[in-house]
């Protein structure tokens, strides 16, 4: 049996950043603010181009970011942010894409067409931050009970005492 040999750290930060800058131009994304934090690349892209960007990062032959590690929602009070953490098995490299989202009108394109595994990440962000993912096939609550009308991880969230009281459903009696 032939075992595939991986070239660990086949690329370095500078190479990835220069590659990304080139590739971003091809999909119409602005160059983005690249930054290094704890040895990881972060870059900001605009909300409109996020789906094309992720699709390009996955399908591009040089980059091959073929695995989505995590999608994280962040609340900065003035605006919301989503961080897509992508990983390339072939290059042993990861990149984090940030998208800034308006807090008053939070919505963004779903990337479930590109990464099927983004389904639950997006559902979780939707229920905890209230960010609407346009084009998501199954946008319903994942961890919270189905009847909630609040988003607990927002900074502005403050629950009323009546909401905390558990009301026993009568369906089993």
């Amino acid at each position: 049996m032939e075992v595939k040999q991986y070239n660990f750290k086949a690329v370095d930060n500078d190479k990835v950043i220069s590659l990304l800058q080139d590739k971003f131009k091809s999909v119409g994304t602005s160059e983005g603010n690249f930054s290094l934090n704890h040895g990881q690349i972060y870059c900001e892209v605009s909300k409109e181009t996020i789906k094309n960007t992720i699709k390009m990062l996955k399908n591009d032959k040089d980059l091959k970011f073929d695995y989505i590690k995590c999608i994280t929602g962040v609340d900065y009070k003035e605006y919301l942010e989503i961080v897509y953490s992508l990983y390339s098995f072939d290059n042993n490299y990861s990149v984090n894409i940030k998208v800034r989202i308006d807090a008053a009108n939070p919505d963004v394109d779903s990337i479930t067409d590109v990464f099927w595994s983004a389904d639950w990440f997006e559902r979780e962000i939707w229920e905890f931050f209230g960010i609407n993912f346009k084009g998501h096939p199954n946008l319903k609550t994942l961890l919270l009970p189905g009847d909630v009308d609040y988003h607990p991880l927002l900074k502005s969230f403050e629950i009323k005492w009546e909401k905390r009281e558990y009301v026993r459903p009568k369906v089993f009696e």
Binding site: L143, P152, K163, R164, E165, Y166, R168, V171, E173
Partner: protein, 176 residues
């Protein structure tokens, strides 16, 4: 050494004589039923959080609940007792209620640890029920975070006392 009287052959013959004959036991129905029931509390295989680890330790070979006639049962139909061993979230509470409703009466509930009693450290959370007694009626509360196996023992022996107080004459009170 030497304090115990050595059993002679006559002693053994006496015992054999006693149990060899057909014998009659005269006792009230409550007493014999409660004696049987309190010595065979079968509890549900139902672990929720870190208290469940202590519950498993209690059921395991070191603490050995089997010697009290208590066993894990994998189905609520055969279980007498449900040990609530962990935090009850709002999403999980209807599930617990459903499992409880599937158990045959008489059924008992033991709330183990501070989460099951009041919500514990997650009391102020948006998604945690403040105690399992908001969902189903509780017989015994065992405190601790998590409760030690010794504490669980104490609770189970208290439950044994509760069962021994039961009677078939009185109609059992069903809390709704």
């Amino acid at each position: 050494m030497g304090l115990e009287r050595k059993k002679t052959l006559e002693d053994h013959l006496y015992l054999k004589d006693k149990f060899g004959k057909p014998n009659i036991l005269t006792v009230s129905y409550d007493k014999i039923m409660n004696a049987a029931r309190s010595r065979s509390i079968w509890y549900l295989t139902f672990g929720i959080a870190c208290c469940a680890i202590e519950m498993m330790a209690t059921g395991g070979s070191h603490y050995d609940l089997d010697r009290f006639g208590m066993f894990f049962r994998a189905t609520p139909r055969q279980a007498d007792l449900i040990i609530i061993s962990g935090t009850i979230t709002r999403k999980y509470a209807p599930v617990v209620q459903r499992v409880y409703m599937q158990m045959a009466e008489p059924r008992y509930v033991l709330a183990m640890g501070s989460c099951a009693i009041t919500g514990g450290p997650f009391y102020d959370s948006y998604n945690v029920v403040q105690g399992i007694d908001k969902v189903i009626p509780v017989d015994v509360y065992v405190q601790g975070c998590p409760a030690r196996p010794e504490a669980l023992y104490c609770g189970l022996l208290k439950l044994k006392e509760i069962i021994n107080r039961d009677s078939i004459v009185k109609k059992p009170v069903i809390v709704k």
